[in-house]
């Protein structure tokens, strides 16, 4: 699936009755997302922003026929909620929740894979298909329909870069946050594969950070010719101290693995323009896209 979601995607909101769930349901509806149902166990038969709420995903499935899910469920309940969505066959499942234990993420992702279901997140701002629909919490004001695809491990840093791209007069096609945790459903390569196929995306911005080797693998994928569109990258965390965690569990330099310099070097070798400052990203894109 190249697009993950589009204007027609019927969306379920899990954890719709919580503060975050309610708030972002409103914003997503305002953006045009087709939210057809919500679920909060024990709170069924109500509504939120005009969206019917059910006790179980199975009921929502029978009554409202959702196709995809976005989750605002508290971390301790996230695993069961995700497994429920997986069993119901919802796809993709966007897990906004922060603080999901790694063990739970591993199980969620493994079970989703067996069913061919895409997990976006956890700990992600979500996905926005600019001008069509948003399954996420990103401020929609920073985006404007255009031809730049964004894939990122970060939240606010993505908004920063997107705002600059928009201000530069370009614009975005789709922006996907893969999530800041060490274990997430999508990695850069998965998303690059999609952007390669996506006719609406002309160039791509990759926003990485220290920790793991997702950026290095993306670089290898690009080197091998798997992704051929113009790409600009920004990697956060050059000032990080090895062994110290920066903000979230994903951003940690382990041994001499996953340093910002190593990632930048790998991407540069793959022919990717790597910005030293977030502000350079939009400038480089502008040059590339003429």
């Amino acid at each position: 699936m190249v697009r993950f979601v589009d204007k027609g995607t019927r969306v379920l909101v899990q954890g719709i009755t919580g503060t975050q769930g309610r708030f972002h349901t409103r914003l997503m509806l305002e953006y045009g997302t087709k939210i057809v149902a919500g679920v909060t166990p024990g709170r069924g038969r109500g509504e939120v922003e005009g969206v019917p709420v059910f006790d179980t995903v199975f009921e929502a499935l029978e009554e409202a026929d959702p196709e995809a899910s976005i989750m605002f469920v508290p971390a301790p309940q996230a695993k069961e909620a995700a497994l429920e969505a997986i069993e119901a066959g919802l796809n993709p499942i966007v897990i906004i929740t922060e603080g999901v234990p790694i063990k739970d993420s591993i199980e969620i992702i493994a079970r989703a894979r067996r069913r061919g279901i895409t997990i976006i997140g956890p700990n992600t701002p979500g996905i926005i298909r600019v001008g069509e629909c948003k399954l996420g919490i990103m401020p929609s004001g920073v985006f404007r329909k255009g031809r730049v695809g964004i894939v990122s491990r970060s939240g606010t840093l993505t908004y920063e870069v997107a705002a600059q791209i928009t201000r530069a007069g370009l614009g975005e096609s789709t922006c996907i946050g893969i999530g800041g945790d060490p274990v997430v459903g999508l990695d850069f390569v998965d998303v690059l594969r999609c952007f390669q196929e996506d006719g609406e995306t002309e160039a791509v911005v990759l926003i990485g950070e220290i920790g793991g080797d997702a950026e290095e693998r993306a670089a290898a994928f690009i080197s091998e010719g798997g992704f051929t569109k113009p790409t600009v990258a920004y990697i956060a965390g050059r000032t990080a101290i090895p062994g110290r965690r920066m903000g979230h569990a994903g951003a940690i330099v382990e041994g001499n693995m996953g340093t910002a310099e190593g990632k930048m070097e790998a991407l540069r070798s793959a022919g990717v323009h790597v910005g030293s400052l977030p502000g350079e990203v939009a400038k480089a894109l502008k040059r590339m896209m003429g």
């Binding site: 992702i109 970060s154 920063e160 793991g212 903000g247 569990a249 001499n256």
Partner: protein, 380 residues
């Protein structure tokens, strides 16, 4: 949460992983008593949350209880890599015939656990991995099938063991995995796993628990983790007490951001402009105004900070409220050091007005804000 060696070994015991006879001691007298109880030669190990203790002089041998006391005294009086030693672990000295490595960790790429094993134990495993990768056995775990006894035997076979030793080693690998999964370990290592006669003993122990999973490990939280604080400076302890996501650095520009990526990028930008960040402080996405106020207050009180840089990408949050928080913090703290703010989001204009009236410098982009902070701090 990082457990100290003696804590990890306690957990090991609970899962049936053999550890040397021994006990933690907080005083010289206690250390002598433990050494007497053990009898014979003992090892005295500083309990500090850092690696490479051996090289740093944190592990001593003693022939007699008296000498054990002396060694303990030496360690308790000193520090290892700058961290004060509050406890030592006094253990029997093992007659080690062979040192193996056994580890459990998370593989980000394959999104699962991996069991690592090597016959090259007792040394830095990352070095082994880069020098002689063929000496590391990796057994990836299918998260749904789990790591099973026959996988454990397969690992033990590939390490070259057979018969009774293979069975014993596989049993330990199995328990290591069970411990790792049940305790939500991020990293779990036995290095070295010592072959002593016909038995394997975990001579060292490392156990880091996924902080996100601590909500279901109340028992571990209650008993352990105190050692983690020992690796922290005063200011880091205070940050932790306040629940702030803070990392201390050695510069003079205080930095607050929201979101790990944005905050790291702010540090990087300041560094790129020649400044030296004093810290990393991430408020998290969508931080409420009170949180901002608290963080600003915290950094204003840090005397090593000359300039404070606040970079908030509010997005959906209301900027006017955040601006009030920053102004309030400064008023209450009564500290006059310069604050450079970059603020963006809903009600941005109103927020900027409030900040300017409050005497803050407000910049339009992260780069400008970073540049200005570096200048105010005295430049490069």
């Amino acid at each position: 949460m990082k457990l100290l060696e003696y804590e990890a070994k306690e957990v090991f015991r609970g899962f049936g992983i053999p550890v040397p006879r021994g006990k933690v001691a907080e005083s010289v007298e206690e250390a002598i008593r433990v050494a007497e109880m053990i009898g014979g030669q003992v090892v005295i190990k500083a309990q500090v949350p850092v690696g490479g203790r051996g090289k740093a002089g944190g592990i001593l041998l003693a022939e007699t209880p008296e000498k054990a006391g002396e060694a303990a005294a030496r360690l308790l009086a000193s520090g290892v890599r700058g961290i004060k030693v509050r406890r030592v672990l006094v253990e029997e000295r093992l007659k080690i015939e062979k040192e193996l490595y056994l580890g459990f960790t998370v593989d980000r790429r394959y999104r699962t656990y991996v069991i690592l094993a090597s016959c090259e134990g007792g040394v830095d495993i990352e070095e082994v991995a880069s020098r002689t990768p063929e000496k590391i056995i990796k057994q990836y775990v299918d998260p749904i099938e789990g790591f099973r006894p026959y996988h454990a035997r397969w690992v033990a076979r590939r390490l070259g063991f057979s018969g009774g030793l293979m069975m014993k080693l596989s049993e330990i690998a199995m328990r290591l995995y069970n411990l790792g999964v049940e305790a939500d370990a991020e990293i779990l290592e036995i290095n070295p796993l010592a072959l002593v006669g016909e038995d394997f003993v975990a001579a060292d122990a490392r156990l880091n628990i996924d902080d996100n999973a601590l909500f279901r490990h109340g028992n571990l939280l209650q008993s352990y983790g105190g050692g983690e604080l020992e690796g922290l400076s005063e200011v880091e302890r205070e940050a932790r007490r306040l629940g702030l996501t803070y990392v201390e650095l050695d510069g003079d520009i205080g930095i607050i951001g929201n979101g790990a990526g944005l905050t790291m990028a702010t540090l990087d930008t300041v560094t790129l402009y020649g400044g030296r960040p004093r810290n990393f402080l991430d408020l998290g996405g969508g931080a409420p105004p009170e949180r901002v106020e608290q963080a600003v207050t915290f950094l204003l009180n840090d005397k090593r900070i000359k300039v404070l840089l606040v970079n908030i990408l509010g997005g959906i949050t209301r900027c006017d409220e955040i601006a009030k928080g920053i102004v309030n913090a400064r008023l209450k703290a009564g500290v006059t050091k310069p604050i450079v703010v970059r603020l963006s989001g809903t009600n941005e204009e109103e927020g900027i007005r409030i900040l300017r009236e409050g005497g803050m410098e407000v910049m339009g982009t992260m780069e400008e804000a970073a540049e200005r902070s570096v200048l105010l701090a005295g430049g490069r």
